[in-house]
C-alpha cells in the first residue's frame, strides 16, 4: 500500500511536469507558456521535497528532547529548493518584464501575431 502511494505521488509529479512541458510546447500565448513553465519548475520543487520526506518526522528545526536522525526530515532538499524557488521567482520576474515590453510593442501576446509583427 505504502509502495503504491509512494509511486502515485511520483506519478503525480511526473504528470505535473509533463503538463508544464506540454503547455510550453503547445500553447501559443506567451503568458500561458510562462505559466506552464512555472508549473514545470514547481513540479521539480515538489519532487525534491518528496525525496527529503521521512515518515513520522518533524520539520528540520531542532527541538529540545527530540534527537536522532529519524526524527527530522532531511534538511538538504529544503535548502536546495529554497534556492530553486528563488531562481524560479527571478526567472518569472524577468519573463514578466519581457512580456510587458512585448505587450508594449506588439499589443498582443499570441505568438503568431508577434511573429508577424517581427517580420514587418
Amino acid at each position: 500500500m505504502n509502495e503504491l502511494l509512494s509511486n502515485i505521488i511520483y506519478f503525480l509529479i511526473a504528470v505535473l511536469f509533463v503538463f508544464g512541458l506540454y503547455g510550453m510546447l503547445d500553447k501559443r500565448n506567451f503568458m500561458k507558456k510562462l505559466m506552464a513553465m512555472n508549473i514545470m519548475q514547481i513540479s521539480v520543487i515538489i519532487f525534491f521535497l518528496a525525496l527529503g520526506q521521512k515518515l513520522d518526522a518533524t520539520l528540520p528545526i531542532l527541538v529540545h528532547g527530540l534527537e536522532g536522525v529519524d526524527q527530522y526530515v532531511n534538511p538538504l532538499p529544503h535548502a536546495l529548493m529554497l534556492t530553486a524557488i528563488v531562481v524560479s521567482l527571478s526567472t518569472t520576474g524577468v519573463a514578466l518584464a519581457l512580456l510587458l515590453r512585448i505587450q508594449d510593442r506588439y499589443e498582443d501576446l499570441e505568438e503568431p501575431e508577434i511573429l508577424r509583427g517581427m517580420d514587418k
Binding site: S6, L25, L55, P60, T91, G93, M118
Partner: protein
C-alpha cells in the same frame, strides 16, 4: 505540431514514471538521501554552526556558496528587469522603436 508535442509529452510521462520505479519510497527512513549526507546535518549542525534551524544551517553555512549564487540571481533579476523595462523603454521614444 500539436500531435508531435502530445506524443513527446506522453513519451516523457512514460519515461518519468518508469524512472520513478527506481526511486526510494516516499518517507523511507533508509533511503540513500536520508542515510548518506543528511544525517550529519541533523546530528552535528547545531554543534558546528550554532543554528538550530537546520535548513538555515545548510543554506547559510554548509552550502553558503549556493546561497551566494541565489542572492546573485535575485540581483540579476532586478538588474535585468530594469535594463529591459527602463533603458529599452527610453529607446522607444528616442528612436521610434528601432528594431535593430
Amino acid at each position: 505540431m500539436r500531435i508531435l508535442s502530445m506524443v513527446f509529452s506522453i513519451m516523457l510521462l512514460g519515461l518519468l514514471m518508469f524512472g520513478s520505479l527506481g526511486l526510494p519510497l516516499i518517507g523511507d527512513k533508509d533511503s540513500p538521501a536520508a542515510e548518506h549526507v543528511s544525517p550529519r546535518y541533523i546530528e552535528k549542525a547545531y554543534k558546528e554552526t550554532g543554528s538550530p534551524n537546520l535548513v538555515t544551517a545548510v543554506l547559510a553555512d554548509y552550502r553558503s556558496y549556493d546561497t551566494l549564487g541565489e542572492t546573485t540571481v535575485i540581483f540579476i533579476a532586478g538588474a535585468a528587469t530594469i535594463l529591459i523595462l527602463r533603458t529599452a523603454a527610453g529607446r522607444k521614444n528616442a528612436e521610434g522603436g528601432s528594431d535593430e
